[in-house]
């Protein structure tokens, strides 16, 4: 047991009475948390109404026949080829999920032809993990906001007519010598690229400008046009500078999968890579780092200059910081980098050419190119050119372009040139958007030629040179939409183009695989070796300028990213891994700043203060969240919010910060901040619904945390396998009971979570939501502590609040064999199975919630409202602010959206407790397959949704009775422990002690200092 003090929120850190009061409540103390749908006192009329209703329902129920249901056979059109579909049996298609910074080789599970779940593609190895965004992709497909047909001036038009008109206009523009520009974001599709080339060939007056909302153009500019591929599985020392390479930077899944190969020590090989992170605000990547250094955005260049100088590089301007800890940190990093020459990576996510040039110079000095950094199989993400965008904007102002074609780009929303684009689009002779909805830019276009969703498309994706992902449709296009490449090819004169045959030819030329092989694999990796070509030398480095006023750091959130996915409610409701907030962007302020401004406590009603920042004449009012480990005098706000035209879910959520994204760098200075005195109901997680806390009064040490989050450092682990877990032996000795130990004759399911492998990315949370039909509840309900997630990732801080260590702990039902919830249920709705599963029979549950009250892990969720509309006469949210403030309230009520529901899992009615079932439907189905094939169930046959989603394999599930299973073997490891084991719950989700690669206890605990 660790003596460290852990905390999850401000109030817990300060141990305020309010914290203790609410931590010990079963449900939140938020003023309206217990308010029912009708917040009125019942009166005589209500009584009569209810009475009348009951009587009539009773009469109807007793008098009527059961309603007639129809059984519709699965009918095929015999004029076509018969598909090989067995109704009720899932089919999997290998395809690819991609975005401007994402690439995942995935398997899409379809039932009766509808895609319902995304799984990682195990054969794609490092590319086969998933992110939260990839998991949520199925819901984008069923987005009700998507256009159902091509549109001209807000009126429906058919494709033939639209194409004819567009081609005529293009011909006219060509004839009159007017210029046409195709504006795109990063295009990973080789098909779309070729289509645009063909358009340029047909129309010589067409030019192309690519930009990225959140740009990494500086890397390309500093590296001679390429973005080298950083191989984190080859590095012993990793130094990151404001680079969220495990999350939002680019290629997060591959990076995370490779990174984690060096982050899990074993007794045989007790080594791990060391990770230093210099960061302005706490990021997902920073949370996993061993050493963290909070730096202001303006200090990054100075740090790099100092580091490069210490490594022997010739650059002027080295200057020690007044912060001594930072200086010693740079010394330490330099020393370790020299020791790990050719086995280290220095990487920065700042879009600044000088910084990227310094990073390249440092990597060159350390001979990392060709060793840990690949310059031949380079990354194709982030192809945007900031200079070209700026030039385009000035040309558009002059009216240089009479035709504008937006291909997947939304510049009116996500560039600083919003006004310019808006005016240009309105004035242009021809303006087209291929957006799948009428978004901020498309609303000013004459034509919207809606693109199909990627699950409806054919494509070849090249995320890295020599790495290809193949995209095949998993469903026929739901609406009358067309792939953007097909649209462009049509306009280029290639009428009636068959994209699938183009893709077939492309697959043959790029992969050498046969068509069917390629579609079955979904992926091919043809990289060999690591390229070591020299990058351009270091450019002139100017002296870092002193910032004016406060600095504002602009970042991407793991779920929402640059804002394209804002209409996905699963992503909106996924708690941010670090801040644990949902449905909003907000001003992150450092702890020291919060103390100065006396906003360092969370009011008991969870209403957070609202701050107002002003920068470059623009003001934003946003709620305030205190972020531990954020650099002094620095504020941080997420981009990707404040969409106006994203749809029923994402419109009006948060504020749009793109208008201040000067030169596409991720920070601005000269920011003024003031408190407005207003408060805001923010949907914050983990300030409640957390593990039970000691009931004692404030001032007493927090007893349990050290038993919940166990950690140690690598040095101690290499000496003893049980480091950090020493108390377990004593605990186990004391586990004497007079009751018989439960026996499990067949299977005994168990799960293990490796806290070293878990990076907190949240893919498992979304995967669990989709697999188990978990409803989206909206911001208001999250604020009322009524979110329904069965699986949450607890985030704990420890150490210095200005620079704490972070631990992630995925928390789901622990399936205790001596479960405290089971023996308090008055109707035995929750009980234990002979396979060790804590079962929940929803239809037996009468909603007393005793079990939730008695659960020490707080993993039981009560569905107060009918979130999916399965047994309601109307909407539960009428007239109340729900759904993140947007006007449309009922998300899952739509029959299109409900196509995403898993038919093997029941949609729970209102008023029952629900919780993790260990994906019982998957266990049952795997057992059935084994029985049908007359064989034993093998280890790995059953994989839970969270397990398959995890890009770093942090979750292992299996039969503990099978001595050869991975679970059974890891159970004996010295790192394994169970939460509250001393209470003899016999829980069966084991956690592996978190190991940090630290030399010594360098950061003395905050509490130790005080006491």
């Amino acid at each position: 047991m660790s003596n460290k003090k852990y905390w999850t929120s401000l109030d817990e850190l300060n141990q305020t009475p309010a914290y203790f009061e609410q931590a010990n409540q079963e449900f939140s103390l938020v003023e309206d948390a217990t308010e029912s749908i009708e917040n009125k006192e019942p009166n005589r009329r209500d009584f009569l109404k209810a009475m009348g209703f009951s009587v009539s329902v009773a009469a109807v129920a007793s008098a009527c026949q059961i309603p007639v249901k129809n059984a519709i056979p699965y009918t095929f059109d015999l004029r076509n080829q018969m598909p090989e579909v067995v109704p009720g049996v899932a089919e999997f298609f290998a395809t690819t999920y991609y975005g401007s910074a994402d690439f995942n080789s995935i398997l899409v599970k379809t039932r009766e032809g509808r895609p319902i779940k995304v799984e990682g593609n195990p054969s794609a190895k490092f590319f086969g993990g998933t992110s939260a965004r990839a998991q949520a992709a199925v819901l984008d497909l069923y987005d009700v906001t998507r256009l159902h047909n091509p549109v001209k001036a807000n009126k429906k038009i058919d494709w033939k007519k639209a194409d004819a008109e567009i081609i005529k206009k293009l011909d006219e523009l060509k004839a009159s010598g007017q210029k046409v520009v195709v504006v795109t974001n990063t295009i990973l599709s080789t098909i779309t690229k070729k289509a645009i080339e063909q358009l340029k060939t047909t129309y010589a007056n067409v030019s192309v400008v690519a930009y990225d909302p959140i740009s990494q153009y500086a890397i390309r500019k500093a590296s001679g046009g390429i973005i080298p591929a950083y191989q984190f599985d080859k590095a012993d020392v990793i130094v990151g500078f404001n680079c969220d390479f495990l999350g939002t930077w680019m290629n997060g899944t591959e990076n995370a999968a490779k990174y984690v190969t060096k982050r899990v020590p074993t007794p045989e090989n007790p080594t791990m890579s060391r990770h230093h992170q210099f960061q302005s605000s706490m990021s997902l990547t920073g949370a996993s780092a061993d050493y963290k250094y909070p730096i202001k955005p303006s200090e990054e260049k100075q740090v790099l200059i100092n580091l490069y100088t210490k490594l022997g590089g010739s650059v002027s301007g080295a200057k020690d910081f007044s912060n001594k800890e930072l200086n010693t940190g740079i010394d330490k990093v330099a020393k370790e980098l020299v020791a790990a020459k050719g086995k280290s990576i220095v990487v920065s996510g700042t879009n600044d050419v000088e910084i990227q040039s310094l990073v390249n110079a440092i990597n060159a000095t350390l001979s990392n190119f060709g060793a840990t950094i690949d310059t031949s199989n380079t990354l194709n993400f982030k192809q945007g050119n900031d200079e070209a965008l700026a030039t385009l904007a000035s040309e558009l102002k002059n009216g240089a372009y009479k035709g504008i074609i937006l291909v997947g780009a939304n510049p009116v929303y996500d560039t600083v040139y919003a006004e310019t684009f808006k005016n240009a689009l309105q004035k242009a002779d021809l303006s087209i958007s291929t957006a799948d909805r009428v978004d901020e830019s498309a609303q000013y276009c004459q034509y919207v030629a809606p693109n199909s969703h990627l699950l409806e498309s054919w494509d070849v994706i090249e995320p890295r040179t020599n790495v290809y992902g193949f995209v095949q449709p998993t469903i026929t296009a739901l609406f009358d939409t067309r792939q953007e490449s097909a649209s462009i090819l049509t306009w280029a004169g290639n009428v009636n183009v068959a994209i699938d045959s183009l893709v077939q030819a492309e697959i043959a030329s790029v992969s050498g695989l046969s068509y069917s092989e390629a579609l079955q694999a979904g992926f091919v990796d043809k990289t060999s070796g690591i390229g070591a070509s020299a990058l351009p030398g270091i450019s002139t480095i100017t002296t870092p300028t002193q910032p004016k006023g406060m600095e504002l750091f602009l970042y991407e959130k793991v779920a929402i990213g640059d804002g394209k996915l804002a209409n996905n409610p699963f992503l909106q409701e996924m708690p941010d891994p670090i801040s644990k907030a949902t449905w909003d962007n907000y001003i992150l302020v450092p702890y020291s700043f919060a103390k100065e401004n006396k906003i360092d406590s969370m009011p008991a009603d969870k209403k957070v203060p609202v701050g107002k920042i002003t920068v470059a004449g623009k003001s934003f009012e946003l709620p305030i969240v205190v972020q531990f480990g954020q650099a002094q005098n620095t504020l941080a706000i997420a981009l990707g919010y404040g969409r106006e035209k994203s749809g029923n879910v994402g419109s009006g959520v948060g504020a749009n910060l793109y208008p201040i994204l000067k030169n596409n760098t991720n920070s601005v200075d000269g920011v003024t901040f003031e408190l407005t005195g207003k408060t805001y109901n923010l949907g914050l997680n983990q300030t409640y619904h957390t593990l039970m806390e000691d009931v004692s009064l404030p001032g007493k040490p927090l007893r349990y945390r050290g038993m919940v989050v166990k950690e140690t450092n690598l040095a101690s682990y290499s000496k003893s396998e049980t480091a950090g877990n020493e108390d377990r032996e004593a605990i186990q000795k004391h586990l004497v009971t007079m009751y018989p130990t439960p026996k499990f004759p067949g299977h005994h399911w168990g799960m293990l979570v490796d806290m070293n492998a878990c990076i907190g990315c949240g893919a498992c949370v979304v995967a669990c939501n989709i697999e188990n039909n978990i409803p989206v509840v909206g911001r208001r309900q999250v604020f009322r502590s009524q979110e329904m997630h069965w699986l949450r990732i607890d985030r704990y801080y420890n150490g210095n609040p200005d620079n704490p260590d972070v631990s992630f702990q995925p928390m789901m039902c622990q399936h205790c064999d001596n479960a405290p919830c089971e023996n308090v249920c008055p109707v035995n709705a929750t009980n234990h199975s002979s396979e060790g599963i804590n079962q929940m029979a929803y239809n037996r549950c009468i909603g007393t919630r005793y079990c939730a009250n008695n659960c020490p892990f707080k993993v039981r969720r009560f569905n107060w409202l009918d979130y999916q509309g399965n047994d309601m006469f109307g909407s539960f949210n009428d007239g109340t602010p729900g759904w993140g403030g947007s006007e449309t309230k009922d998300y899952m009520f739509d029959s299109l959206t409900r196509m995403v529901l898993n038919p093997d899992v029941v949609v729970r009615t209102r008023g029952v407790i629900e919780k993790c079932s260990f994906c019982t439907q998957r266990i049952q189905s795997s057992k059935l397959d084994a029985k049908k094939q007359n064989r034993k169930l093998q280890d790995g046959d059953v994989k839970t949704a969270c397990q398959t989603a995890c890009p770093t394999n942090a979750i292992v599930f299996g039969d503990m009775n099978d001595k050869n299973s991975q679970v059974a073997q890891t159970l004996d490891s010295g790192r394994n422990y169970f939460l509250f084991e001393e209470q003899h719950f016999l829980n069966h989700v084991g956690y592996q002690v978190k190991i940090r690669n630290k030399d010594e206890e360098s950061q003395r605990s905050f509490f130790d200092k005080e006491g």
């Binding site: 129809n70 059984a71 699965y74 015999l78 009720g88 002979s834 037996r844 049952q924 059935l928 034993k936």
Partner: protein, 438 residues
Amino acid sequence: MFNSYIKRSYSLLVSFFLIFVISTSSYAGVAVPDVDPADAAAVAKAKTGMDLFKANCTACHAIDRKVIGPALADVWDKWDTEENLIAWVKNSQAVIKSGHAHANKIYEEYNKMPMPAFPTLSDEQVKDVFLYMKAAEKGFDPSNPGGKKETADAAGGATTEGADSGKSNTTLILVGLFAVLAILGAVLFNITSKLSKIAKVAQGESLDAIEAVEAASKKALVKKLGVVAVIIAAVLLLFNIGNGAINLGRSQGYKPEQPIRFSHALHVGQNKIECQYCHTGVEKSRHASIPGTQICMNCHKYVQEGPKYGKDEIKKIYDYSGWDPDKGAFVKAPKNIEWVQIHNLPDHVYFNHSQHVKVGKIECQTCHGKIEEMETVEQFAPLSMGWCINCHRETKVQFADNNYYSVFEKYHDEIKKGKRAGVTVEDIGGTECQKCHY
């Protein structure tokens, strides 16, 4: 002129002769021996033939009548040699291509619908099938060479009937006995009360006073009985309401009218089409699956008239499937047949057909009743949770035959040691909530 006449009659003669020769020699018929019930080897061969026939032929053929393919009873006289008939069974297309006259005639007659080839059957197996067919024509059942089955059935029927009547007899006797005792009691009570009255009068009490007391006690008794009756009525009422409430949503015996008067009695009972032929998912999926028109049309492209409703009902299939019988082609997109669902499980119940049929080897009839006798399908079982649970308690799993169950080492040990006769579904957790509710 004359010459030509001679020539013509000559050729006529020749052709008559040829016809005669052909009809006598090439259509000499196939000789298949009858099965002697006493000859065990022959019976065994016929039994093999029967199994093969049922597995491979009954989807399209019956012995005594035309189904999809021709009736097979008189096939012996239509074919020239046994070799050709065997070849025809094994690969009809080859025989047609070889130009065999009768083969081509049949092919034309049946709209050029080819019979599937059976290359895996050996000649001997085909001969066994012939043996069975011949025997079946004569009403001989090789699985019961002595013809004992019917008597066994009758006996079985009798036993069950006997048991039933025995049960009702006991009830009758008990009721009778109770009635006799009740009458006896009443008579005795009457006698004692009269006697005590006489005794009291003898002791000098006035008869009027005695009768007044009696009347009062009678009144009290009636009052008491009234209260008891009210309580009994209330209990009965509550019991009925309770039962009624439990039965809400259950619909045993539900027999709705369907959009097409499809008869299982005809298709399964008479034509002996296997259930799986149409309900294709039953061994693969949670759904047995109701067949789409694509499956109906496998046969009904050719079977255009039914025995009961003629062309009316089959025409409906054509409408649904988009088939034009005149053109012999699908001309429209199919429409969905909106069958009325009979077996409705609540949403919170997960039921998997393949688990029960493929793994548990449960007969369809166990839950669906005698489907093969149902003209219109009705719900046979109550489909209540108690009904499911009871079966799970009583039914033994295929414990020794399925390797999956080797995981239950404890039970295998117990079986070895003789401590356990078998393993029921309940023993392996089949009555736990989350086996069906998730």
